[in-house]
């Protein structure tokens, strides 16, 4: 190996190390902080020094945080189920049936997913007040349709376009109706895509902040992001960094595990959708 080649190999691996450290360090430091209490919290420790579950106890001991987790799980699950249900049939039609205006319709759906959410905030606020669902989980479930539905339709359409045409032709020859084709022929093939899309939509709903902040008004109806953002200490000046970090770790670890398990599929789904989940 020549000196130049050695140098470029070392440089390459140095770059790899820098990328990994930059990506992982903030979360690592949040974990370290979440186990520090009292004065230990206010010393800068690069390595874990103390191992104290106190912050976790104080976060989980307060009733409202557990309540927020329950709220978030309910809202995100319901949103995803609803979006997938509407998206499967719609994307079959968009991917498999030729009709006039299809390209335009796809562009319109994409345009909705690019909406600045603030632009619909006033109108949604009125709608939610009108329906009487302000400060309930249904306010979020309704408003999250605006970004989960276009995203799932878009990704499932690209997935379905790539399925071979022969299987569908065979079913048509056998006299299957479009509904039978979707449920009996396509759905079994689509499971992987559904899991990926559903997971990405779930993450999107789990992380949403603007609507959840605006459409809730009491601590018991908050979702996780709102609860963490508004977690306050005994006084206005004192920010409870320990419990905040513990709460952050609690809500992030399941997501990271899911993402790492499904990472290949997620990368495929993200690049097919081109939309941030």
């Amino acid at each position: 190996m020549t000196a130049q080649k050695l140098l470029s190999t070392v440089g390459f691996y140095a770059l790899v190390v820098v990328i990994v450290v930059f990506s992982v360090f903030p979360f690592y430091y949040a974990i370290v902080t979440s186990f520090a209490t009292g004065t230990e919290l206010f010393k800068v420790n690069y390595l874990p020094k103390s191992f104290d579950w106190g912050n976790y106890q104080s976060v989980l001991g307060g009733r409202n945080f557990v309540r927020s987790i329950v709220n978030s799980v309910f809202i995100a699950t319901t949103t995803v189920v609803f979006a997938l249900f509407l998206a499967v049939t719609a994307s079959y039609a968009l991917a498999r049936v030729r009709f006039r205006g299809r390209g335009l319709l796809l562009m319109a759906i994409l345009a909705v997913s690019m909406f600045p959410q603030i632009a619909v905030l006033a109108g949604l606020f009125e709608l939610i007040r009108f329906l009487g669902i302000f400060n309930t989980p249904w306010a979020m479930i309704l408003s999250y349709v605006i970004f989960t539905l276009p995203f799932t339709v878009w990704v499932l359409t690209t997935f379905m376009r790539d399925l071979p045409v022969e299987i569908e032709e065979a079913a048509i020859v056998d006299g299957a109706t479009p509904w039978v084709i979707i449920t009996k022929v396509f759905l079994p093939l689509l499971w992987p895509a559904l899991v990926t899309t559903g997971l990405l939509a779930f993450i999107g709903a789990w992380n949403e902040f603007l609507f959840a902040l605006t459409f809730t008004s009491s601590e018991t109806t908050r979702t996780v992001p709102v609860a963490i953002a508004l977690l306050s200490g005994a006084s206005q000046q004192e920010i409870p960094w320990g419990p905040i970090m513990a709460a952050s770790v609690i809500v992030t670890v399941p997501l990271i595990i899911l993402v790492l398990i499904f990472q290949r599929k997620i990368v495929a789904g993200l690049t097919a959708g081109g939309v941030k989940g």
């Binding site: 770059l15 790899v16 990328i19 990994v20 990506s23 992982v24 903030p26 979360f27 430091y29 949040a30 919290l41 206010f42 800068v44 509407l86 049939t89 719609a90 039609a93 049936v97 030729r98 009709f99 796809l106 562009m107 690019m114 909406f115 600045p116 959410q117 603030i118 632009a119 619909v120 905030l121 109108g123 949604l124 009125e126 709608l127 007040r129 349709v145 605006i146 539905l149 479009p178 993450i203 992380n207 902040f209 603007l210 902040l213 605006t214 992001p225 963490i228 953002a229 960094w241 970090m245 809500v251 992030t252 997501l255 993402v259 990472q263 990368v267 690049t271 081109g274 939309v275 941030k276």
Partner: protein, 316 residues
């Protein structure tokens, strides 16, 4: 193909079924997107208050711009378009969007090139860069707020030890540095997404092109600018537009990391503040309508100038 079913041909049958498959989705999108958007625009033309949503009266474009001539002959302009706070927010948003997307594109390209190379531990690196992406924005804002803390923050400690700064900086509180803090966190969080999109483009480039270039002894830098970059241009264009749209509407990171800082307040933040917190509902609606218009114009220009094929229909 004449399978007769009430006189309809097969393709007519299919189109009819397609209509019923698409209709519920369109109805849902109309209900949560189109209708609220129209109502927002309507509100922006009234003087509606948050406490009385149906008591507003039509005032035309007064929330945007109005002129009153006093008896003394003085002209007084009012409305968002002459509101210094609004223009400050516009400037903040535009600056944030361009700077963050620029860095995310450059760094994302570097990370994507690394991930596109064959080396041991590639899977590990890909898993590592997915972590910032998977962390909720609010959580990353809090994590970084803690690391950027003026007294106990680890970043000040590192910078002091390395001799980069000689005194602790209040990153998120100071007007001079708040924007850097927001940019830092956004670049950290979103570069992985950019890298993955670019990587997908890179993987479409046939490997033998590189082999051929290598055999001809062409400089790798030249290969990158002459071959790779032109070939991934469509993927790059799509990635940039998605990021740009996301950056222009940024709300949560700014709201949590640098609350009430004039130096970072974006269009989304100021609109919501007026709408909900300051009880200037219609005024906030006017500002969010302007943001919508800006984004719509930006997208049309980009698609028109760049001839970007977003729907992917052209590839088929």
């Amino acid at each position: 193909m004449a399978i007769n079913d009430g006189g309809l041909s097969l393709s007519q049958q299919r189109q009819r079924a397609a209509f019923w498959f698409i209709a519920p989705m369109l109805a849902a999108l109309f209900f949560v997107a189109a209708w609220p958007l129209l109502r927002t625009i309507w509100f922006s033309l009234t003087d509606t208050a948050l406490s009385d949503l149906y008591g507003g009266e039509w005032i035309g474009f007064d929330n945007y711009l109005s002129l009153r001539v006093l008896d003394s002959g003085r002209w007084i302009w009012r409305g968002t378009l002459v509101d210094a706070d609004w223009w400050n927010a516009v400037w903040n948003t535009v600056r944030f969007a361009f700077v963050s997307v620029f860095f995310e594109t450059v760094l994302g390209l570097i990370v994507a090139l690394v991930l596109n190379a064959e080396f041991k531990g590639r899977g590990l690196v890909r898993a590592a860069i997915l972590i910032p992406w998977a962390i909720p924005t609010i959580v990353s804002a809090k994590m970084w707020a803690w690391m950027l803390n003026d007294q106990f923050g680890i970043l000040n400690d590192i910078a002091l030890n390395l001799g980069l700064i000689d005194q602790k900086i209040a990153w998120t509180a100071s007007v001079d540095t708040a924007m850097y803090a927001v940019l830092m966190v956004d670049v950290w969080k979103t570069t992985p997404f950019m890298a993955l999109l670019i990587l997908a483009g890179l993987q479409m480039v046939p490997r033998d092109i590189y082999e051929a270039a290598k055999l001809d002894g062409i400089n790798p830098v030249k290969v990158f600018f002459r071959i790779t970059l032109p070939l991934i241009r469509p993927a790059l264009a799509v990635a940039i537009i998605f990021r740009m749209l996301d950056a222009l509407r940024i709300f949560d990171l700014v709201y949590v990391l640098t609350p009430n800082s004039k130096a970072t307040k974006t269009m989304s933040v100021i609109s919501r503040e007026n709408m909900i917190d300051f009880d200037k509902f219609a005024y906030g609606a006017a500002q969010s309508t302007l943001l919508f218009a800006i984004i719509a114009i930006f997208v049309s220009l980009y698609i028109w100038l760049g001839k970007v094929d977003l729907s992917g229909e052209g590839q088929r």
